[in-house]
Symmetry: C5
Amino acid sequence: MKGRSRKAGLPPGTLIHIGARKTPEPKITIIDYDEATFQERETKAIEECFLFKDKPTVTWINVDGLHQSEILEKLGECYHFHPLVLEDILNTDQRPKMEEYGDYLYIVLKMLHDKGKGSQIEAEQVSLVLGPNYVFSFQESGGDVFDQIRERLRTGKGRLRKMGADYLAYTLVDAIVDYYFVILEKLGERIELLEEELVAHPRTETLKEIHTLKREMIFLRKAVWPLREVISSLQRGESPLVQKTTGIYLRDVYDHTIQVIDTIETFRDILSGVLDIYLSSVSNRLNSVMKVLTIIATVFMPLTFLAGVYGMNFKYMPELEWRWGYPVTWGVMVAIGVAMLVYFRKKKWL
Amino acid sequence: MKGRSRKAGLPPGTLIHIGARKTPEPKITIIDYDEATFQERETKAIEECFLFKDKPTVTWINVDGLHQSEILEKLGECYHFHPLVLEDILNTDQRPKMEEYGDYLYIVLKMLHDKGKGSQIEAEQVSLVLGPNYVFSFQESGGDVFDQIRERLRTGKGRLRKMGADYLAYTLVDAIVDYYFVILEKLGERIELLEEELVAHPRTETLKEIHTLKREMIFLRKAVWPLREVISSLQRGESPLVQKTTGIYLRDVYDHTIQVIDTIETFRDILSGVLDIYLSSVSNRLNSVMKVLTIIATVFMPLTFLAGVYGMNFKYMPELEWRWGYPVTWGVMVAIGVAMLVYFRKKKWL
Amino acid sequence: MKGRSRKAGLPPGTLIHIGARKTPEPKITIIDYDEATFQERETKAIEECFLFKDKPTVTWINVDGLHQSEILEKLGECYHFHPLVLEDILNTDQRPKMEEYGDYLYIVLKMLHDKGKGSQIEAEQVSLVLGPNYVFSFQESGGDVFDQIRERLRTGKGRLRKMGADYLAYTLVDAIVDYYFVILEKLGERIELLEEELVAHPRTETLKEIHTLKREMIFLRKAVWPLREVISSLQRGESPLVQKTTGIYLRDVYDHTIQVIDTIETFRDILSGVLDIYLSSVSNRLNSVMKVLTIIATVFMPLTFLAGVYGMNFKYMPELEWRWGYPVTWGVMVAIGVAMLVYFRKKKWL
Amino acid sequence: MKGRSRKAGLPPGTLIHIGARKTPEPKITIIDYDEATFQERETKAIEECFLFKDKPTVTWINVDGLHQSEILEKLGECYHFHPLVLEDILNTDQRPKMEEYGDYLYIVLKMLHDKGKGSQIEAEQVSLVLGPNYVFSFQESGGDVFDQIRERLRTGKGRLRKMGADYLAYTLVDAIVDYYFVILEKLGERIELLEEELVAHPRTETLKEIHTLKREMIFLRKAVWPLREVISSLQRGESPLVQKTTGIYLRDVYDHTIQVIDTIETFRDILSGVLDIYLSSVSNRLNSVMKVLTIIATVFMPLTFLAGVYGMNFKYMPELEWRWGYPVTWGVMVAIGVAMLVYFRKKKWL
Amino acid sequence: MKGRSRKAGLPPGTLIHIGARKTPEPKITIIDYDEATFQERETKAIEECFLFKDKPTVTWINVDGLHQSEILEKLGECYHFHPLVLEDILNTDQRPKMEEYGDYLYIVLKMLHDKGKGSQIEAEQVSLVLGPNYVFSFQESGGDVFDQIRERLRTGKGRLRKMGADYLAYTLVDAIVDYYFVILEKLGERIELLEEELVAHPRTETLKEIHTLKREMIFLRKAVWPLREVISSLQRGESPLVQKTTGIYLRDVYDHTIQVIDTIETFRDILSGVLDIYLSSVSNRLNSVMKVLTIIATVFMPLTFLAGVYGMNFKYMPELEWRWGYPVTWGVMVAIGVAMLVYFRKKKWL
């Protein structure tokens, strides 16, 4: 939520980057291709992109780093993007959505990361602008899940180079959704570990881990749930920018999204169950602690009382004088103790 | 809910202000502009507003303070407002809604405030009436989130002065929704603080703070949830009073509203988790208290019993006469104590 | 639910009054008016009503007390009401509903009462039959929320006398819904009281009051929820009996109904929170009780043991002979006690 | 669920009766009537039914007992029933449903029973087949809620004899739904009893009764919920077999069904509340038990310690020699005890 | 979820089998029939299948084992399957779905197994491809629920041989859904066992079994829930590949699916109830343990104190010298003990 309030009261279309500056300097990568030709270059001057605007080839322009709003301003002027689109690209706490603007489509999604083992999941906003012969992708920082796509473009294998810009956009969305499965698999492993730990040796940390995982599920669901609608409306093929053949592929991504949502829901259910088990194991332990206490107290209180009685200093206590008083008292004590234990065993406390 | 019952049984259209009188005297501000001209004045006589009724320029009339119902009566007569609209403006416990009346639109929303740090969130009802060339805004008290809009109107920068009354209405709604993010950010900080406190040092006050926050979420949701529908029906552009170009901007506000609702839901989920952690930390503490008690009782009860036995006054107790009776008894006692502790360590209670 | 089973197996349209006989004798009140004329009379003979059937003026016939089914039978014959309508009027456990029968509309709603302070809410079924120039209202007992309407009819102030029968029906529904706010306000006060009590001095009665309130919410929701649909279908103006101008007023009642439902839901959420606080305050108290017990036991058990040791009667106990044995033992005891207290303070139990 | 698995793998339309054989021999009752004539006969030979097939009068054929599948086979052949209909009649674990087969409608519902006081509710599947001039009803065993309908047919009072087969089918459905109210009333009484018991003297059996009732609610809901849709689709009058005039009566049954569902939901809510009260009364009792223990322990532990101190056998204990040592010690003990009790009273534990 | 991440980043249509290799070598079975002829053969060369492509007879080709992707590749080429279909067949963690591809329908479902008593339920993905005159079925491993269908095809009894490929597909789906009832019946038995155990002798293992069953319900629901939509869209008969007469049979399977879902929901409700009973029986036991402890402590603490008092060594303790001191003390002690027990009986603790 942080940083969003800085924009309160400013006119719509004001270009202010929300969120931390994640990369030292914006980096622009241009890939231009059709079935026959392929060209890739890296630049810092956004003006280079304008050269590709009217070429019939498909152009993919990727921008890493969003804190220099001039880049977007120039782009917006050249490609006639709506000021709200430019604003939304910089608003990195958007929920996934798709908007049609006649000439181009604007798509927002969340790319999930996890840096190393046991670390938290991070989400990065990726904005796509799909035009008739170009795709813009805007990322908050460098490092993405598109490397294999770049490789496929370079080598020219498969369908990708033969298809239009809409297929490229699909491929990017597909790569992002596919990576969700990687994230989910890791979460699944953490849940399994948690369950094993719960059985073997429940600790207070277990509770915290349960809640960390629960919160990550909330976080994930928020990132994935609206995607369902986004892809569904893309697939329904109402925009002339998305061809029918690409629609079938989008249906495939749609299925994957549903599967991701399903898995998140299942994980949530499992975590609720794990929490229940944890809580009832805590109260079970309380029960067994109380039983030990009760058994000890119940056995020794009467005995101590008896010992107390024969420790009294009355002058006339006939038992004290009696030759067998001491051993008989011991006998009675042992009998009481054994009787108590038998009683507890009968009550299944032992 | 307070005050609403005062109106039970009265005929519809009766002008009674519900809620506390929040401002000493109503204040009327008139801003009249088009791209070229700008005029701003403050008055107490509502009749001044009527001068602007037929001018082609856009007129924004803001009324602070609702307890003098004559103002509304005169306004209603001059502008031909439906009696129910006038009644609803004074009914300050409305839920957000939008109603079409042919010549004008009537919009109700909730403006959120928070007075200083740690204070409760307050909601003030703002009623907008959007006509072909005028916008009325009615507030319960002075002080609002529109100052930056006034400034933009005065300086004439940006799109605002060039657009019609519908764009002005959009700008007002946008300003209110934008301020929700400020409120949410503050709530988010309070939740974070709560969580830190929970880990560091849980107290009974923590529970109360959790429930205060939960209730504020209920309150917020009630204020924001119906807004979604309001803006959605505005944006669908069915009314001729809202132009198509403004529709795109309304879609933007719509997205923000969804985002606010999403965040509220996430906060609710997080608060539920926080409550769970609090409750199970309470029962964990009970567990550890009981363990201490049980360990102490289990160690000392047998020992005290033994001491009691050799405190008995039987005449014939051979052990008492024995030279090593005392040290051996000590030895047995220490052995019992150590055995108990070893047992507890094995059971992971220590 | 009571009494409903008496009707099992009887043919449809059988006129049996369900529920207790709430009024000694049925009372019929006839109000007949148009803008110019006004006539009001009270009778016991239903036949009088038939005189007004074909007059162009608006006739409002109110029947208090339903246990004399002949009245309904005669009415049904004269006005050609469907037997199921007559049956439903006597079935006083209906849920609110609206049914169109060509010539007339049949509307059922629940009028809420509360008799005095702190008493339970009671619901009375009110059936309305709206024809082209008449409104019938059937109540189980005398005493209703329509007195102000009668007054407005008599004095002829306002819109009411100028409008048709549909506006009268609207006015009746509006009066009933308006009274819901009175009931809700009283419930709100009870909830506030409950919360204050909870903080000041929670008792077992608090729990019962929570559940009484919860059940009243269930009861209210059942009475109000279907009303939403009833009014919505009235307002949509599909029936020729409801004029367009009345539709705007019905939209207003619709808004009120939504507001009532909203408030009920909020109250339910608040009551859940109150229950949570109550329950966790109970377990907090258990915790503090246990702490006291544990502290006392942990401090005194070792001390009692020590006293027990030097109460043993062994012949050879060198400490007993020692000159400083007694004061040193006291010193050790005080030291142990202090150490324990320091330990507990460190653990934040004190 | 039992018995359903026997059919796994068999071809569709295989006639196997699921469930226990509830009646020794199938019994067929034929009632044939129009406004003027009435005929009733009982038979064991299904062939008799075929005589009525082409008569213009309305024929109601009731079959008690389903385990002789030949009856159904012959019937199916003669009346051209779809094999799946025949199969479904024997599948007595169907959920309520309605299926159109052109010439006839197939309706499944659950007839509820309760055998004597305090016994469990039993559901029996009733299948209706409604043709142009016949109604078949299939029951698992003898004994039903249709006796009053038979009586009405015999005496010829009321509407029933004048109407067609669709009205007869409506009457049967109505009788079944009406009996739900009887069952609900009994359940309501059990819930009331439970609540009284809960207040007066909560026991472990109370918990079991709560859960028995909860499960019966699940069971009931499963039986009634789909009925809503069944009757709604009947009423919408899409089938030419159901006349418009009957539609109004079906709307009445529909209302009753909604009311039954409403009541079930209310009962579920009430039972949840009852469970909450039970659980918190259990934990309240634990609290009060712990308080007694703590008070006793806190009062007597210091006293016992003191008594122990003066029971020590040190040679030099000046207090022991002191003339007032014993009474002063008693005084101190009483003072300690009183102080503790005052402390507990202040803490509201007494 | 396992294995799914291996595919991240690969182009769509890449044939990689997800999941363990469950069968040593793929096995292809071809059954070709019409009403007159029948032919069955087993092969390892997929090319044999191509012979049947253009024959008017119905061909059912079943493939057990999916890890040799060449088989699918060849099939896809010959029958012109979309690459995504081939990919989905190998993606064995699909949720049930149905996709239309003009010439053929692609259906995914989950076949449920259970290997022996008390073992976990296993799900195997079955993919069906339904063309105008062929049905392909793909299974992960050998062993299925189709044996009775094969038998019916061989013997030629019943409807099956006379109908088209769509009826065969229906039969396969029906067999899979029918087996769900077998699985549910076994689960029902386990739940019943659980409940009996809960009443007789609740153990910690009971809790684990409850959660195992709960998770199996989640698992089942995930497998069955989407099936509802699959069959519903098949039945609506929008595809020309499914004939109208088959539609009625599909409606039957649809009913069964709803019934399965209903039963799963009921089981979930019952398991929640069982968990509640378990948890409250645990806290009831704690209560009874605490009562025993409290009774013992409350009876013996005052007695032990008294014994301690008369064990003190004060020189001047008149009671000690008194002739009846000892028996009177005993009397007082017994009186205290009896008074305590009477008090507890009155409080219903005994």
